[in-house]
């Protein structure tokens, strides 16, 4: 057999060749140091890749995942905060409007008072000579 191709050696270590081909390559490797070395290099690369598999902090990871799938107390706090803000805004608006209504009411009251006084003055100085005494 000729030296197996790089592709064949690669498929050989992955056991992705028909049985007869695997046997052929095995027999060849036994007698060919060059191919044995090529094969060893490939196996060494695979071994290095396996060594690059890392151990992560899975405890922290799991805790983070679980926290994300649970209803968060933080968001409940936010909800309360939102509720308080809305309440405050409503009372401010209510307070301000009450203030405006009250000042308008007072203005109207003063205006009416002035009107009454002027009417009283007209009547008390009228041609009829009738004197009306205001109760004020």
């Amino acid at each position: 057999m000729n030296h197996p191709s790089f592709e064949d050696l690669s498929s050989f270590i992955d056991k992705e060749l028909p049985d007869w081909k695997i046997r052929e390559i095995e027999e060849h490797i036994d007698i060919c140091p060059t191919c044995r070395e090529r094969l060893e290099d490939l196996l060494l690369i695979d071994q290095g890749i396996r060594a690059s598999y890392q151990e992560f902090d899975t405890q922290t990871f799991t805790a983070e995942v679980l926290e994300r799938i649970r209803p968060k107390p933080v968001s409940r706090y936010n909800f309360r905060l939102k509720l308080a803000t809305i309440g405050l805004a409503i009372s401010l608006i209510f307070g301000a409007s009450l203030g405006i209504v009250r000042s308008r009411y007072r203005e109207n009251l003063n205006r009416e008072k002035q009107l009454l006084i002027s009417q009283h003055n007209i009547i008390s100085s009228g041609d009829m000579g009738v004197i009306l005494i205001s109760d004020r």
């Binding site: 070395e37 695979d46 060594a51 890392q54 992560f56 899975t58």
Partner: protein
């Protein structure tokens, strides 16, 4: 629902069934069991540990949300692995990376990057850098589609057919990607592989 004392001792099927009923502890055990593999895989595809971590989190949240629709007669991890691969490619697509490489069909084509990185030139002596460390760095410089295919083969121990299924590509592409990945690795590590053969 019956109470389970030791979740660690339960098999996947039991854990799935419990998680499908909303048992958080069962889900916790699923995360414990597979998170390291998922983070490793995602980190390899994304080319970053932090990204791998973040995507793996999204993967398990998606597992929790979709566990009810999972067919408990099937194996759990291949499903999680598929979600992981899809999530990574989706993220790479969003970032404008990796789309062309995930859809490629490089039967015998040249690799997109074939110039060995400067870092791996034989400037440093072999005993300064461990071979495994150099191999990991060489792996990181592989184009992502070669890297993930080789990873699924070597770490996840999948057959070419299973890889084809996971990545939605044909077996011929799997084979050529693995060959090309190994060729690139060998070329980049040529110096170190030669040194290890020399008598010290």
């Amino acid at each position: 629902m019956y109470k389970v004392k030791n979740y660690k001792e339960q098999d996947d099927i039991t854990l799935i069934k419990l998680a499908q009923k909303g048992d958080e502890k069962a889900f916790e055990e699923i995360v414990n069991r597979y998170s390291n593999r998922v983070i490793n895989l995602a980190a390899r595809i994304m080319g970053s540990r932090d990204d791998g971590w973040d995507i793996a989190q999204e993967v398990f949240i998606s597992v929790w949300r979709n566990i009810k629709s999972f067919d408990s007669t099937k194996n759990l991890y291949p499903w999680i692995r598929k979600i992981t691969v899809n999530a990574c490619y989706e993220e790479l697509r969003k970032r404008g990376k990796g789309l062309e490489s995930s859809l490629d069909d490089v039967e015998d084509g040249e690799p997109s990057i074939d110039v060995p990185d400067e870092k791996y030139s034989p400037e440093d002596t072999f005993d300064k850098i461990e071979l495994n460390e150099v191999i990991e760095k060489a792996l990181e410089t592989l184009p992502e589609h070669y890297r993930v295919t080789l990873w699924l083969r070597v770490i996840e121990n999948l057959t070419y057919e299973e890889i084809a299924e996971t990545l939605n590509i044909n077996i011929g592409t799997v084979k050529s990607r693995i060959n090309m990945a190994r060729k690139l690795m060998r070329d980049r590590l040529k110096y170190y592989l030669e040194v290890k053969d020399e008598p010290s």
